[in-house]
Symmetry: C2
Amino acid sequence: MIDTKEKLIDTAERLFADHGYASTSLRQIINKAGVNLAAVHYHFGSKEELLDALVHRKAEAVNRERVERLERLEAEMGGRPLAVEDILHAFFMPTANVAAANPQFVRVMGRIHSEGLMPGIAQKHFHPTAKRFLAALRRALPDLSEAEFAWRVHFMMGAMAHTMCATPFFPVPQDDFHGRMRRLVAFLSAGFRAPAAEH
Amino acid sequence: MIDTKEKLIDTAERLFADHGYASTSLRQIINKAGVNLAAVHYHFGSKEELLDALVHRKAEAVNRERVERLERLEAEMGGRPLAVEDILHAFFMPTANVAAANPQFVRVMGRIHSEGLMPGIAQKHFHPTAKRFLAALRRALPDLSEAEFAWRVHFMMGAMAHTMCATPFFPVPQDDFHGRMRRLVAFLSAGFRAPAAEH
DNA sequence: GTCTATACTGAGATAGAC
DNA sequence: GTCTATCTCAGTATAGAC
């Protein structure tokens, strides 16, 4: 069948979101999708590459909107460095749009994060775009030392991954992803602009 | 043998640090320790509880030093709210001491984080103490709404876990854990004191 | 090219002899 | 307390039908 591949991805997305990546066996997926076990390896090669295909299907839209927003900012400012807030806003808000349109996918990203698969996935699907944002951020914060800047980016990575993906352990309106991102941008902007710790 | 248990924990610590938790099989551990597979299940019950025992052995020292520092601060201030920086400093610095004395263990914690096992471990071994710090932090930031405060704590969790445990993707002096924590405290303190994002 | 049936390897867990 | 033997189930690999 022509769309065995799509059906596998759809089914995997549902099951990964509900039960996690590691806890979902390929046999569960193929049973629900009604195909044979080896079809997975024919189309994808491995369980991991099935996950990769799943992420790739949605990551492109996020990356495209991120770049559009960044380029719009750069055009507005014409050469001058951008504001930290604006850069972070351009980076985080597109994820809120995906979250609204496709909660299933965000739940899978949450699983990816909480199961420790995020570094590989981020590197592969998001890093090329993210590098442009880091360059803009560096220009916006010329007074920080290289080391201080690198560490603050590292802090941001942690807060970001945890916030976009992990379920907070307190009750929260499910659909307020925009608000969550706005709070995150405010918090991180202040952190980035803090005076460097003395040594 | 009386110390089969200790030998298993020691061996597991080495192997978990070097190769990760999931990638280390019980069979590797028992071969290196020179004991039988079933001994693991006799002494610990499961692979997961072996890890638990390993963490428990070191977590107590961290928790004790954290509480001591917090109580010393509270005594100094006698009733008045503490400063955000001081609270965070008291919370993060003890981890730097463990890192210096026992790099092996910190590497295991890094594995725990990057393999997505941190929530469970943190809940079990660190949360009771951490709650006292959250209470102090709340008193230090009375003007934040409950929601804003909860989210900022969430951001901190992400930055913390990522920073204490994850290997940064840039070169960094291995033993500068104190410096890393100081930078983190400065970053987070500024974030906590940022004006709340408007809604 | 697409898929089915089946076999292979290695994981954690367990029952019961000693 | 310890060890042997065995169980179940995972991801993966291959042979061959269509």
